[in-house]
Amino acid sequence: MSADVQLDNVWIRFGDFVAARDINIHIQEGEFFSFLGSSGCGKTTILRAVSGFSEPSEGRVFIGGKDMAGIGPNKRPTALIFQNLALFPLMKVWENITFSLEVAGVGKAGRKKKADELLELIALSGQGDKLPSELSGGQKQRVAIARALCAEPDVLLLDEPLSALDLKLRQHMRTELRAIQQRVGITFIYITHDQGEALTMSDNVAVMSQGKIEQVADGNTVYDAPETSFVASFVGENNLFEGKVTEISEGYAIVDTPSGSLRARNAKHNGEYQLAVGDDAFVFIRPESLKFVNGATHDNQIGARVKGHEFEGSFWQVFFDVKGARRTVKLSMVNDGGDVGHDDGTDVKLGFSADKAVATPVGELADET
């Protein structure tokens, strides 16, 4: 069984502090949904409201169409995987996994049988009699997943479960989690501050900042068509130019910046274009969409001076000083065996297509708060 999760005008306050403001989200059943944001943005608070450890101050939470108000975590069709996993250290692995069955009064034989099934699912067959402390990090991770799945929840909630693992294992577990989700077919709600995790695993991502949701969309859309300056600056890397809108035409905005007049897509929010003539605006362009001008024409061109470069194996990163830009501008180009082609200190022209650039209203920037 799987269930959809709906948050209706949810506000969560702790005294004067607003941890979540006016959250409206509908997560479809069977979906892998991520909340992405830096620490303190309210994502864990929302997860706790869904799992039942806290109640919203205002608004309602529905799971499978049922209002969850007043229903405790032990009565909700959810299972939570904690950041530190919270395996029971004094119970054997198989007892950990089948704790929910023990609660339900299932006999030992039945529990052992179920434990064997789940141990096989997580590729830990024969390790049921060990204690959690005898397992490696990745194995503990899988036991925590099995313990949650054993309760046969309609919705599985995951609170940054991979953050304690090392990089290699984390990448491996991403694939594994996604595979498990597709196998069991239940709704996964995943909390993370790691955009790589959110983008690779999720059907949809909600980007959060300071208690509110900035954008809900699939990974591609969040990366290619950010709706707010926060999303544009938080997800991936982006070069930033600042100016005033001088002209609006068919989904594009022309923004007059100290570095030149730049044409970019007018960012939509809730289906509506946000910029009008005279507005202050940010223009974002990704380092990989920025090119050296070599004869070809581009929608936008800016003058820049090469400041330095870094070699990153498959990429070159090139840094520039650009007149009027408030930060160093960055360009990444694929390493095809040659070098950057421009010495440090030389003046060059950089260009980019208007389709690759996004203009948003001036707002919060993720890396400047």
């Binding site: 975590p73 032990n74 009565k75 919270a86 029971f88 704790f99 023990e102 949650a148």
Partner: protein, 307 residues
């Protein structure tokens, strides 16, 4: 071993190392082992006048232990009825007091460790400790005054109309149980509190999330985790209750005797230190054996307790 000592001296420096060694020897040797050893030795000797000490009559004997079990040779009973029953009653009462304290303290310790927050928890800890600034004897007398036939509790209950005649708290030994129960309560609360406090809150929440009712969370998660603390709390309360003297002396009814009072009588009134020593040694060893058996039954290892 030599390496270990070298490292010990290198780490602490000569001055501190020597101080630590001497302090440890004084503590272990002079304050703990030596007195117990003399007591042990005493318990196997006759109660002789000073002139005979070291003489031909000064030999080892089991007579005091025999007396404790079977009474004097003129007695008609087949065993020492009074002393044996006082011993049994002392042990059973101490066990009861221990269980009572455990039942009382576990919820308090859990509350302090995981429910109360910040200033409130600290205030509660202070409220628990402050009464213990008052001397043990004074506390016992205070109980006696409160629980006397004309004490505040009887007066209050009569005023309420719950009872017509005062309850004989002291005569019926309720005052003794209450006094003993209260005397060592902190030694129960704090070890359990220490053990529970380090329990990861997420484990409690995880169990709840998996559908567990509160009692099963305690049975399966909190109590197993707190077991070392519970053991050390119970051990201390049991040992100290069985060995208590002030509370039984002051709060005990006229007909009730505590085993320590018998020991006290042999030392002070009977002027028979050897027999008193035998009784004391017996009490010490029997309580140790009881504690070890209990630990075996509940599968606690000695190493865990000192964690």
């Amino acid at each position: 071993m030599k390496q270990y000592w070298n490292r010990f001296f290198l780490k602490n420096g000569i001055g501190i190392s020597v101080y630590l060694l001497i302090a440890m020897l004084v503590w272990l040797g002079m304050l703990i082992m030596l007195p117990q050893f003399f007591m042990f030795d005493f318990s196997f000797r006759f109660n002789l006048p000073p002139a005979d000490l070291g003489g031909p009559k000064d030999v080892y004997t089991l007579s005091h232990y025999k007396y404790m079990a079977f009474g004097s040779e003129q007695a008609t009973d087949s065993y020492n009825v009074v002393d044996v029953w006082v011993f049994v009653r002392t042990i059973l009462t101490a066990m009861f007091v221990t269980l009572f304290d455990l039942a009382l303290c576990y919820p308090i310790a859990y509350y302090l460790a995981h429910v109360a927050i910040g200033g409130w928890a600290r205030l509660m800890v202070i409220a628990l400790i402050v009464p213990y600034w008052v001397n043990e004897l004074l506390r016992a007398f205070a109980f006696k005054i409160m629980l006397g036939t004309t004490g505040i509790i009887n007066n209050f209950l009569i005023w309420l109309g719950v009872i017509d005649t005062p309850i004989e708290f002291i005569l019926e030994n309720y005052a003794l149980y209450a006094g003993l129960g209260y005397a060592f309560i902190l030694l129960m609360i704090f070890p359990i509190y220490n053990a529970i406090e380090s329990l990861d809150r997420n484990q409690i929440e995880a169990a709840r999330d998996l559908g567990s009712p509160w009692w099963r969370i305690h049975k399966r998660i909190v109590i197993p985790y707190a077991k070392p603390g519970i053991t050390s709390g119970c051990t201390m309360v049991f040992m100290l209750t069985a060995g208590a003297l002030a509370a039984p002396q002051i709060l005990g009814g006229p007909s009730s005797l505590w085993f320590t009072q018998i020991i006290y009588q042999w030392f002070n009134q009977g002027n028979n230190w050897q027999r008193g020593s035998a009784y004391a040694v017996f009490l010490l060893f029997s309580t140790i054996v009881i504690v070890l058996i209990t630990m075996k039954v509940f599968k606690v290892k000695l190493g865990e307790v000192s964690r």
